[in-house]
Symmetry: C2
Subunit: 427 residues, 2 copies
């Protein structure tokens, strides 16, 4: 047992204050698990006067977070400011340059700058909290499944989106209504774009995919769609067809390379992700020879996120280490990114058509022209002259064919509004 | 990067052959993840002539597994023979005495001898495969949730029992029929007692509870009941009441100490464990501040178990270590084991009674005498003179009161067969 691990924390918001509190509240337990004391010695945030609900007595204060890295009494820098650039990035670079290990919850930073950071000689950077909050999914992939070849994974990585979709379904409300209410209740940010447009999910997906497949973090390759276009109508159709709609982050190894995509998806009710509701996160990993592993838990919030940050600190205190992306930088695989147009899957397609003779024949002719075959078709009621919803579920086909067909379908005179398309997944 | 990690494997059955195969098939991937080659150099089993479906060419063979430990070329001993005593125990003791790390899948050994092994100065022993096969639950508890105070956990740890209960429910068959079929199909052993009487689950529970609460492995304290008494009738009643019957291993920290128990339990359909079917394992962990974490996957079989063994080998190759039970032996907590009589929970109670006036009054009077209040009562049809099933669901009460009440109920003249009791859990 060596001396205490001296921690410097930059950022004392939701997560930072949570970490200070956890290290204090569970000090004895953490000392036993870490084999030594883990003690906060210095902190940084913008507003020194702000009450954060935790005691900062006896801790050195820095207005400039970068100064934390230079504090000779600080053994490890915990970055909980956020953002891929600016003070968070400056601090992490300064800490690594000073040879100090870094622990962070910053998914934007790792997704955007992960490869550059990982390439820094001797860099020690841990970020379990950046993906799926309290679920130790990075540890599971990088260590627990280290003997497995990962075929792919699919997950619910954004609690805000999952909360909104869960409430839309349960209460049969539309997106705008639930979003406004979620904002009022603090489940969604005032500027919700980061969450609902899928960017946050894409950050996490890019990080996990790099670890799963042992290759560079490639945020740019991720196909990203959010949940703004998910309608109450399609949620109801999903229900009728035995699906739930979830915003998924999906990564798959195919013969052509690695496919990474974020979009709303229909998931069969019996699949592990279908019943993950509210602010929960979950991920289904397919590995050889382990088979299917499912991990579920709280993906955000002060407690779950602090749990992951402190686990990283305990790993550090115990000297447990792994290369940032599971393998040494020079061992990272070069695997092509598969463009979305090459994706193959089944599709849910909803058209609003004028209910008149010949419309279905026109629609199915377009699909046939693009080699798309149908598994089922659904149409409710009839109202001659009015627009009625026609739902088509396809067999496995290629995204490019689907996109071309949709362009033609949208141009049909009998098709009233842009067709709605939701991909069908089996996870 | 140092030289190869030289592995000696004793036991080349389902798991041992699986490990040899995985190390060969994923050699390059494992080398990248481990930072060095992981190479089998020596093996031991009983029958040298037996075809195990894997190549043993170039490997030193030992008839006596204990001799593996003395092989100076062997860096790590992998024990895959099984059993708490005999050659498995001898081998592990010899390896530890020789200062060699041990990796094992042997839950009986760890459950029965874990505390003694952990107390050996400098002992390095890894056993991720011993609990829940391919699910990295030991790593999750010991490292991933190292900052959390664990309130408890509940899990499905035996695939054979879960398979039998799943089929009994889905096909409305009785226990004996499904067991016989499971044996014919290789899902259950010829001597199934170890699985169906709950012993295997209790081994795993004892191991996980020690890690979760940082105290000695206390197999003797586990209350153990198996699934022989689960009837098709009660499965049907469970269905009607919105429950599934699962064999659970449960550990909880209460004010009085640690409660550990294995028994069939009714789980509400909405709970994470209710829909875990077939040979799957799953565990629900409650931690502070992480909240609820669910881990699910294959709990046995060559592939999932080998995945866990190889993950342990990679940890070893990377120098990642943790104390056997999460904290140093001298830091283990002394926490009382709570006897089953002190357990508090809700109960499902089924009586077969003669359908005559006054019977229900007699039954409810007994419950009242023992301070047991009812949440609901269920009785189907009426057939005067014949035995009918009466189902009672209690509010939370104490096991001791319940046991006393059942003794009195069983003695009532109108009660035809011994009452069936199944505890209700919320996980
Ligand atoms: N919230 C979650 O549930 C969650 C979950 C997983 C990961 N994360 C990640 O954790 C990180 C922190 O998130 P959060 O929710 O805790 O954010 P937050 O509540 O907005 O807190 C940010 C903190 O950074 C400080 N800060 C901002 N700019 C600074 C500067 N220039 N110099 C020094 N300090 C500065 C702020 O100081 P003041 O307090 O003085 O303004 C504040 O304490 C982000 O990377 C986020 O993505 C969060
Ligand atoms: N099977 C699973 O899915 C699973 C899952 C988790 C954990 N485990 C644990 O893994 C261990 C191995 O299980 P298994 O299913 O692989 O067992 P198994 O198929 O019965 O294999 C046992 C092996 O041990 C060898 N052996 C027995 N006595 C020996 C002796 N005196 N000297 C040398 N070798 C001896 C046998 O040799 P021969 O082949 O020559 O007879 C055989 O190769 C057990 O502790 C079990 O609890 C198994």
């Amino acid at each position: 047992m060596t001396g205490a691990l001296a921690v410097g924390i930059a950022g004392l918001g939701t997560v930072g204050a949570g970490v200070v509190r956890l290290l204090a509240d569970h000090a004895a337990l953490i000392e036993a698990r870490a084999g030594r004391k883990v003690t906060v010695v210095a902190v940084s945030a913008r507003d020194r006067a702000r009450n954060r609900g935790v005691s900062l007595e006896g801790l050195r204060w820095y207005d400039d977070p970068v100064a934390l890295a230079a504090d000779t009494k600080v053994d490890v820098v915990v970055e909980l400011i956020g953002g891929a650039d600016g003070p968070a990035h400056d601090l992490v670079m300064a800490a690594l340059a000073a040879g100090k290990p870094v622990v962070t919850a910053n998914k934007a930073l790792i997704a955007m700058r992960g490869s550059a950071l990982g390439a820094i000689e001797g860099a020690s950077i841990r970020f379990e909290a950046a993906v799926a909050g309290g679920i130790p999914v990075i540890k599971a992939l990088r260590e627990g499944l280290a003997g497995d070849r990962i075929a792919g994974f699919a997950g619910i990585f954004n609690g805000t989106c999952n909360y909104i979709l869960s409430r839309m379904r349960a209460e049969k409300l539309d997106f705008a209504t639930v979003l406004a209410d979620a904002q009022a209740q603090g489940y969604a940010e005032a500027d919700p774009s980061f969450d609902i447009d899928g960017i946050d999910t894409a950050h996490k997906l890019a990080i996990l995919a790099a670890i799963a497949f042992g290759r560079e973090v490639d945020f740019g390759a991720v196909h990203v769609e959010g949940i703004r276009g998910v309608s109450a109508l399609d949620i109801a159709f999903a229900e009728e067809l035995g699906y739930r709609i979830k915003l998924l982050g999906i990564a798959r190894a195919t013969d052509a390379g690695i496919e990474t995509r974020v979009h709303p998806a229909m998931v069969p009710l019996a699949a592990p992700l279908a019943r993950v509701d509210g602010v929960n996160n979950a991920v289904v990993i397919e590995g050889d020879p382990v088979g299917q592993i499912v991990l579920q838990g709280r993906g955000a919030g002060a407690g779950p996120t602090a749990s992951a940050v402190v686990a990283d600190l305990i790993d550090l205190a115990r000297g447990r280490a792994a290369p940032m992306l599971g393998v040494a930088p020079q061992a990272l695989a070069r695997r092509a990114a598969v463009p979305m147009a090459a994706h193959r899957g089944a599709y849910f397609l909803r058209l609003m058509v004028v209910d008149q003779p010949g419309v279905i024949a026109d629609v199915t002719a377009v699909l046939r022209d693009h080699g798309i075959s149908l598994e089922s078709m659904l149409q409710h009621g009839r109202s001659p002259g009015d627009a009625v919803a026609v739902v088509l579920v396809t067999h496995v086909t290629q995204e490019a064919a689907m996109a071309a067909a949709i362009t033609r379908l949208a141009a049909l005179e009998s098709v009233q509004v842009p067709p709605a398309l939701i991909r069908i997944e089996t996870a």
